[in-house]
Amino acid sequence: MEIRVKSQLGGDGPEKIVVEKLVQSFDALTVIDRISLKVAEGEFLAIVGPSGCGKSTLLRVLAGLVKPTAGRVRIDGKDVNGPNRRHSLVFQEHALFPWRTVFQNVALGLEIERQSHEQIRQRVTELLALVGLDQFPGYYPHQLSGGMRQRAALARVLAVDPDVLLLDEPFGALDAMTRLTLQDELLRIFLNSGKTVILVTHDVEEALFLADRVIIMSTVPGRIREVIPVTEKRPRDRGSANLAGLKRTVLGILGLEPVIGNVRVPETNFSI
């Protein structure tokens, strides 16, 4: 049975992830309150929302790391009841192994798959070049900057080639330039691979530039406030009037005036 989900560009596939009335509580605190959600295969979904509203928690449930208090999560029609390498998570706190070099961190999943040394070397070298860390394979995490750590963590997840990428603010600690480069890189990977991506971000522009749909969550307990489809064709122009308008809408829903001083934020968008 193949249910078609009404979805946007890049997201016309069969449903990949289905979340039904998901509830997640920690003791008395309900963090996620009956969220239902469908994500099509090959869709890029972005999630924005206030800090502490349960975005990371949602990703951890999807990754199978937390058993939901109530509700169901299915991926590929199967209930998620534990972590799985096909649905891999990039943590908000990058989570590199301090005793492994950049190379060894990225190679981790491949080692577990028992790939040959030569295969691992090739793949890791490729990925390090992709995230711009090819000069630093022998560095330990404590010798890297925050942004470099995040790039290493991204490379590590890409190494095992999962079909669902769960990204928790992967570019949060990056400078504007690197962030834009990696957004382009992520987009390229996404378009070439047909992976399903769920990206949690604080950056509304990032969400609108990358995603097929942007989900806006409410403050805790987290609910879905609004779903904003982004229909603009890719590659998108970061400075387009359409995106600027959407940004205003999203910020409005988040309760943030898109006006800083007397400068209208949309006009200050830069494009590369």
Partner: protein, 258 residues
């Protein structure tokens, strides 16, 4: 710490100045030699009794390192047991805590009764004092793992053995080394105290003999030898640590707490 000429020159010069000041003050003030002998007497004493010192140093070294080695093997084993077994944690751990609260060196007379007069009662005391820093630090190191790293292990379906070998053990190494450094120095102290109580060889025994004959210069020489012994052990561990734990930025900080 880098051993460059510049780094060595300053403390060396200071040390020499200190010796000179000591020599002069003792002469000028006229302190009797049995209270504070001049450094020159220390040197004479050292050269005259070089071989005796060597023999007894070797004894104390054996006791201290023997006790330390035992505490390392049993301590790490015990720490792993406590971290992995509820039963051990509920039964033996409280016992260990009580033992920890006792002054370990006070066991020295008992050890003579239990184990005898020789080498092994000294090793036992050295072991007792060195055991706890190893256990405590290793337990902390095995437990305090970033939760995300354990999540990653779950995502990658790491086995319990894999998690131990690839996550908990490497995570514990910087802590373990901090414990080892404390333990080594304590084990030297332990051996000496045990020798004070009952022994006929070792640096602890020798320092008592020097005291009885009011040979203060010799006693001071022995103390310096003891300091050098501890320091040498410390440096060896430090070198091994730099080899085995090249990743850790925390290590320096833990060292500072020693």
């Amino acid at each position: 710490m880098k051993f460059s000429l510049k780094n060595i020159a300053e403390p060396a010069l200071f040390f020499l100045a200190l010796l000179a000041l000591w020599e002069i003050l003792v002469k000028v003030v006229g302190v009797p030699a049995f209270i504070l002998p001049p450094p020159r007497d220390l040197y004479t004493s050292f050269t005259a009794k070089f071989f005796i010192l060597g023999h007894h140093s070797l004894i104390t070294f054996t006791e201290a390192v023997g006790g330390f080695a035992l505490s390392f093997v049993l301590g790490v084993g015990f720490a792993v047991g406590v971290v992995y077994s509820r039963h051990l944690q509920n039964t033996i751990y409280p016992l260990i805590v009580i033992l920890y609260a006792m002054p370990k060196s006070a066991f020295a007379p008992l050890m003579v009764i239990w184990i005898g007069y020789g080498l092994f009662s000294k090793i036992a005391i050295a072991f007792l004092v060195a055991f706890f820093p190893i256990v405590v630090n290793t337990v902390v190191g095995l437990k305090e793992v970033e939760p995300e790293l354990l999540d990653l292990a779950r995502i990658n379906r790491g086995s319990a053995w894999g998690v131990f070998k690839k996550i908990r053990l490497p995570n514990s190494l910087p802590y373990m080394f901090a414990g080892i450094k404390v333990a080594l120095v304590l084990s030297v102290t332990g051996a000496i105290v045990a020798e004070f109580v009952a022994a006929n060889e070792g640096l602890g025994y020798l320092v008592l003999q020097a005291n009885y004959s009011l040979d203060t210069a010799f006693a001071l020489v022995i103390l310096l030898i003891l300091a050098l012994l501890s320091l040498a052990l410390f440096v060896v561990v430090d070198v091994v640590q730099k080899k085995m734990v090249p990743w850790s930025a925390e290590v320096r900080q833990l060292e500072g707490s020693f």
